[in-house]
C-alpha cells in the first residue's frame, strides 16, 4: 500500500500545500484546528478538489490536474471515518454494512456477519444508529468501511467528540484495528498525545503549510519549528539571540544559556518542556536564581511559574511531581537549571 500526495488548494485565509507519501504505516497530520488538515483528507477522498497537483494510491492516479484526471469518490477506494461517524440513520447497523459491501448476495452476507462479529456488534445488528452509544457508533463506522474493501483509511479527528474516559477506550480499540489492518492509514488530529500513541510518522501542518515529516520520536525531541514545538505541547518558548558559537541569550526569559552543540546563525527561538527543567541546590551551568510568582496545584503535579530574580522577564513554567515540590517546602526563590541537552532550538 502506497500513497503519494502533492497538492495545492487556495482556501479563504491561506493556500494549502501538502506534499508527502505514506507506505503501510499510520501517518499523522498534526495541526491546530482550521490549519487545512481535514481539507487534505477531503481532497484525497475526492470530496473536495485541489487546484493543482497529483494524488496516487497504489499506482492508481486518483487526481492529476495536468493530465485532467479526477476520479469520483466512488472509484477511489478510500474510506473516510467522519467525526460524527455519518452512519445512515434510516438503516440498521447490519443494513448500513450491507449497503456498501461489494459482491453477490452470499458474499455480502458473509461480509456483514464477519464485520459485525469482528467489531462486537452482532447484538446490535438490528438497532438503528441513534440507539447506539458513541463507541458502538464508531465501531459500526469502522465495520462499514472495512466491508467496502477500501485501500486507504482516512481518520478525521476520530476522538474529538468524546469525553476522556470513552476516548481512551476507543483509542485503544482503534489501536487494535490499526494493528490488524495491513493498509495505510492517515490520521488527522490536533492532539499531540493521540498522534504520538497511534502514528509512526508525523507531519505538522501550520496555516496550510506542511512542514518536514518526522518520526514520532524525532518530532518530540527536535520539533525544529515554532509551530511544531507549540503543537507538541511545549509551554516555554523565548526569542533568542546567538551570542557565541555555543551560547544564546533568551531575550524573553533574560537568561544566558549554554547549548549542546553548535548554534545556527539563523536561530530565532528556544523552548524547553516544563518537566525537563530541574531545581538545583546552588549556582551552576544554565542555573539561575528564580522568583516564584505563582503556584498552581494540578491533578498529579504542581505547576510553578518562575521569573529570573530582579527582572520583569517572561515567566517559565516548571512542572514538578507533588512530593518533590512538598520536599523543598514551598520556597519563594529557588535555583532553576535548564539542562543544555533539553533545549530545543528553532529557526522558524
Amino acid at each position: 500500500m502506497e500513497l503519494s500526495v502533492k497538492i495545492e488548494k487556495k482556501l479563504r485565509n491561506f493556500t494549502l500545500r501538502a506534499d508527502f507519501s505514506a507506505k503501510d504505516e499510520v501517518f499523522a497530520l498534526l495541526g491546530a484546528s482550521g490549519c487545512g488538515k481535514s481539507m487534505t483528507l477531503k481532497c484525497i477522498a475526492g470530496i473536495e478538489t485541489p487546484d493543482r497537483g497529483r494524488i496516487v494510491l497504489n499506482g492508481r492516479v486518483l487526481f492529476d490536474s495536468e493530465a485532467g484526471i479526477n476520479l469520483k469518490p466512488q472509484a477511489r477506494k478510500v474510506g473516510y471515518l467522519f467525526q460524527n461517524y455519518a452512519l445512515f440513520p434510516n438503516m440498521t447497523i447490519a443494513e448500513n454494512i450491507a449497503f456498501v459491501a461489494s459482491g453477490d448476495k452470499a458474499e455480502k452476507k458473509r461480509k456483514v456477519q464477519a464485520n459485525l462479529a469482528r467489531f462486537k456488534l452482532t447484538e446490535v445488528a438490528q438497532a438503528y444508529p441513534h440507539e447506539l452509544s458513541g463507541g458502538q457508533q464508531q465501531r459500526a463506522a469502522f465495520a462499514r468501511i472495512l466491508a467496502a474493501d477500501v485501500e486507504l483509511l482516512l481518520l478525521d479527528e476520530p476522538f474529538a467528540a468524546l469525553d476522556s474516559y470513552l476516548k481512551w477506550q476507543l483509542e485503544m480499540e482503534l489501536g487494535d484495528v490499526l494493528a490488524d489492518y495491513d493498509g495505510a492509514a492517515l490520521l488527522v488530529s490536533h492532539d499531540r498525545g493521540e498522534v504520538y500513541r497511534l502514528a509512526d510518522r508525523i507531519a505538522v501542518i501550520d496555516q496550510g503549510q506542511m512542514e518536514a515529516v518526522h518520526t514520532k520520536h524525532g518530532l518530540f525531541q527536535d520539533p525544529a519549528t515554532l509551530a511544531a514545538t507549540l503543537l507538541t505541547g511545549c509551554k516555554n518558548i523565548s526569542a533568542v539571540k546567538r551570542i557565541a558559537p555555543d551560547r544564546i541569550l533568551a531575550v524573553d526569559w533574560q537568561l544566558e544559556l549554554q547549548v549542546a552543540g553548535a548554534v545556527s546563525e539563523d536561530v530565532r527561538f528556544a523552548g524547553i518542556r516544563a518537566h525537563y527543567m530541574e531545581v538545583a541546590a546552588g549556582p551552576g551551568e544554565n542555573t539561575y536564581a528564580m522568583e516564584v510568582i505563582k503556584v498552581v496545584e494540578d491533578v498529579f503535579s504542581y505547576l510553578i511559574m518562575l521569573r529570573r530574580q530582579g527582572t520583569e522577564a517572561r515567566p517559565l513554567r516548571l512542572e514538578l511531581a507533588k512530593d518533590e515540590w512538598q520536599k523543598i517546602k514551598n520556597p519563594t526563590t529557588l535555583y532553576l537549571r535548564l539542562p543544555a541537552a533539553k533545549l530545543m532550538l528553532m529557526e522558524h
Binding site: 477522498a45 469520483k72 460524527n84 445512515f88 440513520p89 434510516n90 467496502a148
Partner: protein
C-alpha cells in the same frame, strides 16, 4: 348537482401533483447543487407562489397562446392548450410547484452532508444514494410538500380561470364553479362546493400530519 367540477378538480390536481412531485424534487436537487446563481434560480421557481395568480395566468396565456412561439409550434401537431383541460393542469403545476420545491429543498438540506460523502467514498452510486438515503431521510418533508401542493392545486383559481377558462364540463373546477355560482346569485350551490373543498383540504392536511407524526415515532430520528 352537476358533479363534473369535482371530477375535473380531482383529475387536474392529481395530474398536476404527479408532475409537481418529480419536477419539484428534481429542481430542489438541482438548486441545492448550484454553485452560482442559486439565489436567482430559487427566486424564479418561487415566484409563482408570491405573484398574483392572475399574473401567472396572464404569462401562461402569453407563453402558450396561439401567437407565441410554443403555441405556433404545438399548433403544427394540432395541439391547442388555451381553454382546455391540459391548460388547467399546467396552471395547477406552476402555482403548486414552489410548495413542493421549497419543502423538498428544505428536507434535503437538513440531511447531514457527511452521510452523502460517506456513501460516495464507500462506492455507492449517486442513483442509489438518491433512492436509499436522500429520499428516505427527506421523507417527512417530501410528504408535506406533496400534500401542500395537492391541496394548493385543489383550490387553484386565478391562473386557471385566466389560462383554462371556466367552461362547464371541460375546465370548470370547484373553485371556478363557486365563482360562477356566486355570479349567478346561487349561494346554495356555492356553499355546497365550498364545504366540499374545505372538507377535502382538511382531510388531506390532517392525513399528512398524522402520517408524519406516526413515522417520526418509528425510525430515523435524527441525532
Amino acid at each position: 348537482m352537476e358533479l363534473s367540477p369535482l371530477l375535473i378538480t380531482l383529475q387536474t390536481a392529481g395530474a398536476a401533483t404527479v408532475a409537481t412531485f418529480f419536477i419539484g424534487i428534481g429542481l430542489a436537487l438541482m438548486v441545492v447543487r448550484l454553485k452560482r446563481f442559486q439565489g436567482l434560480a430559487d427566486a424564479v421557481i418561487t415566484l409563482p407562489m408570491v405573484l398574483p395568480p392572475t399574473v401567472v395566468g396572464f404569462f401562461l396565456l402569453l407563453l402558450f397562446g396561439k401567437r407565441s412561439l410554443i403555441g405556433r409550434f404545438l399548433l403544427q401537431f394540432d395541439i391547442t392548450l388555451v381553454f382546455t383541460w391540459k391548460a388547467a393542469v399546467i396552471a395547477a403545476i406552476v402555482v403548486s410547484l414552489p410548495l413542493m420545491y421549497r419543502t423538498a429543498r428544505g428536507a434535503f438540506e437538513q440531511i447531514d452532508p457527511h452521510i452523502i460523502h460517506a456513501a460516495r467514498t464507500l462506492g455507492v452510486s449517486d442513483w442509489r444514494i438518491f433512492w436509499h438515503i436522500l429520499l428516505p431521510n427527506a421523507r417527512a418533508g417530501i410528504l408535506a410538500g406533496l400534500v401542500l401542493s395537492f391541496t394548493r392545486a385543489l383550490g387553484e383559481f386565478g391562473a386557471t380561470i385566466m389560462f383554462a377558462g371556466n367552461i362547464p364540463g371541460v375546465t370548470q373546477t370547484m373553485s371556478t364553479a363557486i365563482y360562477a355560482a356566486v355570479q349567478a346569485n346561487d349561494y346554495d350551490l356555492a356553499g355546497e362546493w365550498a364545504i366540499i373543498i374545505v372538507a377535502f383540504s382538511l382531510f388531506f392536511v390532517v392525513l399528512m400530519n398524522w402520517w408524519i407524526a406516526r413515522k417520526a415515532k418509528g425510525v430515523a430520528v435524527w441525532n
